[in-house]
């Protein structure tokens, strides 16, 4: 993707060249923990994306006002505010997802992707570029979580769109005995390892830098 538009570059960099999960290997804790079902993975990705975009925009707009010495506490307060809002919103409108994500929603506060973008990008760049950077990194994070949870759900549970039995599609019929390892924490490491290897091969093959 060669383009001179700086905003498009910000977005594509977050999704491809600097994908937080597959290239930077950041924020692994929620990545490994919540990706048991596709719905949970995407839900976590969207929650983190909303926080990331909001905190990037706010931090970029107050970046000249924040003294350098206290920037980290200020960033954390901004991020924590948005995370708590997302937490309450999920609790009110998406109770099932809220239950499934559990402690990992409040833990978005200490997700190093979000603080990392605030420190490395939003605190130095203009508001609009920070917004697009947030969108790019957030979408990249969501896609990565989606792929990982898709693999884990299909192999580890044999379903799609679970765990809610009303929406779950049993891919291999009712008698399929799923490979439970992939639904468990150890399986998350295996699945992530294979996916990292696969992305490395693809990146080498197509010489993406």
């Amino acid at each position: 993707m060669k383009t001179n538009n700086v905003y498009l570059q910000d977005i594509s960099r977050g999704i491809i060249q600097e994908n937080p999960v597959f290239r930077l290997v950041l924020g692994m804790c929620p990545v490994l923990a919540v990706t048991t079902f596709l719905v949970n993975g995407i839900g976590m990705g969207i929650a983190a994306t909303v926080v990331l975009i909001a905190s990037n925009v706010v931090i970029a707009s107050i970046r000249n006002f924040i003294p350098d010495k206290v920037r980290i506490p200020c960033f954390i307060v901004v991020i924590a505010t948005f995370v708590t809002m997302i937490d309450m919103t999920l609790h009110a409108f998406q109770p099932v997802l809220y239950e499934a994500l559990g402690v990992f929603v409040p833990l978005i506060v200490v997700n190093c992707i979000i603080l990392g973008r605030a420190e490395a990008f939003a605190s130095k760049k203009p508001v609009l570029r920070s917004l697009f950077d947030g969108v790019g990194i957030g979408v990249g994070f969501t896609i990565a979580l989606g792929i990982l949870s898709l693999v884990r759900e299909v192999i580890g549970q044999g379903t799609l769109f679970g765990p809610d039995p009303d929406s779950a599609i049993r891919l291999f019929g009712a008698n399929y005995e799923p490979m439970l390892l992939f639904a468990q924490p150890a399986g998350a490491f295996f699945a992530l390892g294979f996916l990292l290897a696969a992305t490395n091969i693809i990146f080498k093959r197509f010489k993406i830098e």
Partner: protein
């Protein structure tokens, strides 16, 4: 000095803005959350008790019990919110029982059991085993409820919790105290009884002489050794000393102690093996 003032001022401003927006968001979402939880609970209640009109909540030990009444103020049954330590964390579930104390339904609200293994506790085939059980049943793993192999801890935890809830309902709302055994009415002789444990039966021999328990021997036991030393010979000695079975079982190994007492009770309610 001026710098320090400026830094704290900036942080204070950010903190105040953050607090203000959070309390705004809280005020917006809190009523929605409360209303939704109320509605969900109401729906669950109506699923079990279609005629529900009112309910009254009581807290007993760690669990909450709702007494359900219809519009004529007749008692329809009970709904308990029970918490139990499972394999991966707390299991919270609703247990509905009719006015006679028999289980009519169980709904797991939240749990953190292993996906694909321990979450069998939320499935109907497992939960339906409890339907119709009451304090008159033993509700024990392997006796009248089956555990699920490979998920023994999760399923045993559920069974223990249901057992506890059903007994609390019977004792507190239905006036069913565990029948006190009158030892003076037991004929002289040697009695044997058993209680099933997790690893195997606990078998005891009890000798009664002129209306008094004079000897309690354990013939067979598969208890965890470190727990069993806490209860034996302490519990038999206490029983012989006080000549009653409803003694204090807080020994650090309550389950073993209760199993021992159950076996002794079982022995004394059977015909003697030696007159």
């Amino acid at each position: 000095m001026r710098d320090m003032l400026r830094l704290s001022l900036v942080m204070a401003v950010i903190g105040i803005i953050s607090a203000a927006s959070l309390s705004g968001a809280y005020n917006l979402t809190a009523p929605i959350i409360a209303e939704r939880q109320e509605r969900e609970y109401r729906q669950a209640l109506e699923g079990f008790f279609p005629a529900v009109a009112e309910y009254e909540t009581q807290r007993i030990e760690d669990d909450y019990f709702d007494l359900i009444y219809d519009s004529n103020n007749n008692l329809l049954g009970f709904m308990a919110v029970v918490q139990q330590q499972g394999y991966g964390g707390l299991i919270t579930f609703n247990l509905a029982a009719d006015a006679e104390g028999s289980v009519i339904g169980i709904r797991v609200i939240s749990h953190t059991e292993t996906p694909g293994v321990g979450d069998v506790i939320t499935t109907q085939p497992f939960l339906e085993q409890f339907h119709g059980k009451s304090y008159a049943d033993r509700i024990e793993a392997g006796v009248d409820i089956d555990t699920v192999s490979s998920a023994t801890v999760s399923t045993s935890a559920m069974i223990a919790a249901v057992h506890r809830a059903v007994n609390v309902i019977a004792e507190n709302f239905l006036g069913m105290a565990e029948e006190a055994l009158d030892i003076t009415a037991v004929l002289d002789g040697v009695y044997q009884g058993s209680a099933s444990g997790t690893m195997g039966d606990l078998v005891v021999e009890v000798e009664v002489l002129t209306g008094k328990i004079v000897r309690i021997d354990v013939l067979q036991q598969y208890e965890t050794p470190t727990f069993f030393v806490e209860t034996y010979p302490l519990i038999p000695n206490r029983i012989i000393e006080e000549q009653r079975l409803d003694i204090d079982t807080r020994t650090g190994a309550t389950l073993s102690a209760e199993r021992l007492i159950n076996a002794i009770r079982d022995a004394l309610t059977k015909p003697p093996v030696v007159n």
